[in-house]
Subunit: 539 residues, 2 copies
């Protein structure tokens, strides 16, 4: 089950799609101006929703006067040019059709009702292998592109910004000897904890996909511990295809963990309104909510629809572009439910439009989700629980009905449910009644809104906004050629040494020796005494 | 030896004296204005240099429009009124003479040449007990002052700001049920790590007073580990006098660690330019260098003396007010050394002025140390290595000659020496020649200045200045009535659970049972097989 979950997460990592983006136009409204010092930044992004935060930083860095070069494959879902950076593309040996095929297949697996566990696992594994092969192939294409690599080497970059979930950028930074800034939500099998030397006790830090919270029963702790000892094995399994690619490129044997350890700054796309409180390392900076800082005005048409909702307000509904091809029967459930509520609904929907769409529902091919959630009329948010969507809900204090599909979404929604700011439903067995119930609960039970507003107030109350913080630390790494002063000496210890097991062993050995010696001495003394007294008796 | 060191540290905690202060006048030059929301802050400070940072925050909070009440004993070395806060004093049952007596006695012990270890330990222990009794007595006086406690209770404070090294403020906050903000350099015997649930592996985090760095040999790790397992015992010993006082005040049995665990935010007076990189918890904020943010112009007289130093520049010399009564023979060594160098020297000196003071030496009763170090002529800084002095050296990039006296100073100077930005000498066996050598080294060997400037650049490059950060998080706690979202669930686990030892025990038990069962089964099968084949043979 665990392995299946990890596979699902990988799907999530590459496939979860656009929720919203910080556009160049929006960045131009930002007050901060040019940097007093400018340098050269290489950006190696990952496709899918992972692009959102990286793009925002790339744009802002370019706007501040840095030379920003973004390296992307010719074939991708979302990666593309921007206003403030230069794009360098490289050819890959697959077609767009492969991406579409994977996407379609994945939607089928995720939304199809009750399959057997074995079948679901097999289908997911098949897609996972396809995706992972594609990622490895992309990396290979870049590494073999000597012209591009040569060009990048000549640029003498000051830093590389990359998402290590696709390790291509991290390996490239290592090869170019340029300090790396990582931006990520997390990595499978705790490889990020190992690479940052961040303590990660399984006693109160729930492992991904266990559905545990930070307060666990004994049996939950047993499961959590068990998963935590399996993680290194899973990592080995997940990342082994990279070993050959890395060896071919670097011409020496370096593990991915060793490469990741060289990361100067880790920009983590969470904070403690989503994650449970846990230790951090000095080079970890929290930028959760980087996507929801800035608002744009709604179009006139949308604004009118929203205002027309009156006192009942609106419900914002998006499961990401993935579920644009939701099967008719599934969509019918949602349409039925929406016809039973007084709110108006804005739904990101790109599938076939049925005849009987209720009047209170507006179907849109692209949803200005962040701006809608920021509107005072927003009463509830139906989401699949991707990190970006969750943070947009938190930023604007809108309670949520959550339908997790795959990847980290199961954990995200579980954390939100634990905080009492949303209700979780299953996409597989959802009915119009359960959906209406859930919506009524989060809208009419004031406690959800109250808790969400408190969470929102805490999230928004920070000395530096996430995008500024991300830009600050990227510039820091460029200015100082890394952040060596934040690198813990723990990286130089092996597992035994780190946990002081060699010291404990040594001390136990000393205790043992002393005990034995004492015992032997006593025995010797005793036997001598006995002999003497025996002798005396004999005398 | 370790216990002796801890005792010395305690001396340091209460006795180490003014290096510099952020004055009200300086705060008024700050650009930031009033807070949009104002509340009530109670400040329970600790005497000595610990007052510096707490006073700066108290003043700034008052300036921003909050009602700030500072509670201090009638008798103290440095605590006193300010421009932007209200002071409430309470009587204590000791006289200023006691303070002076302790001070004089302590100076004698610290500066006297080569005593026997036993004698030094006994004298230090005697002073330590006096100081600690005084601290306990101060707390008792406050807690028994029902009028003042009643007044404080009526104020309905939004937060308490206190230095937990004197636990009075933390216990008071606990009693008043007001969230607490702690400001500290660290606490003896790792009680701060226990109270924040911050991982603190002895394999690479050097224990105070071991003189270890973060990169240790095996034997250093053994010592470090040994000290780390002794720490809880030392804590018990150090803080036991508080148990009775706490019980009498709270009328129930709560350990100091339990009380400290309720701290909402921990403002740590270090960063990773001084400390070695180590894990942090979400509610820890680094405010190292809070004392050296803002500069004041020098007086005309001092400015002229400094400018007159020409290309050779100046040396700034202060061992804190403690060593104002430095014995004549010791002072003579310094005078002799200074007569041998081309730099001009500004010396904080309140002792008897000898006849033959060299022309290049200016003796001052109070030294504008931070402003002198910020002057372009500053070439070297002779310091005893208190945190404030060290940070002023770092802020302005001035290499140091360090003469640690007691407390955390030994560790501070060791960290600076490890970074190659200063030279350590012993006050006990210093000679004019060693001092001149050390000064010439840090001034003329460019690498010291170079490394110090790099350290300085990194320290000063931060998204939020330390004082602003301290004020921000104090206001955060006031606005949100604490910072519960940053409180790790680790606080609810006991030691066995936290380290998953119960889970490991359980899993080992299962493995044992399975092994035994398997073995028994095999044995049974084997014996049956044997019996059958035997039977067959018999047949």
């Amino acid at each position: 089950l665990t392995i299946n979950r990890y596979k699902k997460m990988h799907l999530g990592i590459i496939l979860c799609l656009v929720i919203s983006e910080v556009s160049s136009a929006v960045l131009d409204q930002r007050p901060s101006g040019k940097s007093s010092w400018t340098g050269k930044l290489l950006v190696v992004p990952m496709d899918g929703s992972h692009w959102t935060g990286v793009k925002a930083v790339a744009e802002e860095m370019g706007r501040r006067g840095h030379t920003v070069i973004v390296v992307i494959p010719e074939i991708s879902m979302r990666l593309g040019p921007g206003k403030h950076y230069i794009t360098k593309t490289f050819p890959v040996n697959y077609e767009l059709d492969l991406l579409n095929e994977i996407l379609t297949e994945h939607v089928r697996v995720v939304t199809s009702p009750g399959q057997s566990l074995l079948k679901s696992m097999t289908s997911t594994a098949a897609i996972f292998i396809k995706i992972f092969n594609m990622m490895v192939s992309t990396s290979e294409s870049l590494f073999k592109n000597q012209e591009l690599i040569g060009f990048l080497r000549e640029q003498n970059f000051d830093a590389v910004l990359t998402d290590p979930a696709l390790p291509m950028g991290a390996i490239l930074a290592y090869n170019l000897s340029v300090p790396a800034v990582y931006m990520l939500r997390g990595m499978p099998c705790g490889i990020d904890a190992a690479a940052t030397a961040c303590p990660d006790p399984p006693s109160y830090i729930p492992r991904f996909h266990t559905q545990n919270s930070d307060r666990m029963t004994f049996s939950q702790r047993v499961l959590n511990f068990f998963v935590s000892i399996l993680e290194p094995l899973i990592c080995k399994f997940v990342y082994w295809p990279y070993e050959e690619v890395t060896f071919n490129f670097l011409q020496r044997d370096v593990s991915l963990t060793e490469i990741l350890k060289t990361g100067a700054i880790w920009l983590m796309r969470y904070d403690f309104n989503l994650e449970f409180p846990k230790p951090l390392m000095p080079n970890m900076q929290l930028i959760g909510g980087i996507n929801c800082e800035i608002g744009n005005p709604l179009t006139k048409e949308v604004e009118e629809f929203v205002k027309g909702s009156g006192e009942h307000g609106i419900v914002v509904f998006s499961l990401g572009s993935l579920v644009s091809s939701m099967p008719k029967e599934k969509a019918a459930i949602f349409f039925k439910a929406f016809s039973m509520i007084p709110q108006r609904v804005l739904w990101r929907y790109t599938g076939e439009i049925p005849d009987n769409v209720p009047e209170n529902v507006k179907l849109m091919k692209w949803l200005p989700q962040n701006d809608l959630l920021g509107h005072s009329k927003a009463k509830a948010f139906i989401t699949h629980g991707g990190t970006h969507g969750i943070y947009e809900g938190i930023c604007h204090g809108v309670p949520m009905v959550m339908l997790p599909l795959f990847g980290d979404q199961g954990d995200n929604v579980h954390r939100m449910a634990t905080r009492g700011v949303g209700v979780v439903l299953s996409i597989h067995d959802i009915t119009a009644e359960t959906l209406v119930d859930a919506l009524n609960t989060v809208i009419n039970d004031g406690s959800y809104k109250q808790r969400m507003e408190k969470l929102s107030a805490i999230h928004n109350d920070r000395p530096v906004q996430p995008l500024d913080l991300a830009v600050y630390w990227t510039e820091f790494v460029m200015r100082h050629k890394g952040a060596d002063h934040l690198r813990p000496a723990a990286h130089e210890l092996n597992w035994l040494q780190y946990h002081s097991l060699d010291v404990i062993g040594f001390l136990l050995f000393i205790v043992l020796i002393v005990t034995i010696a004492t015992f032997k001495c006593c025995a010797l003394c005793w036997s001598r005494c006995c002999r003497k007294s025996q002798k005396r008796k004999e005398d």
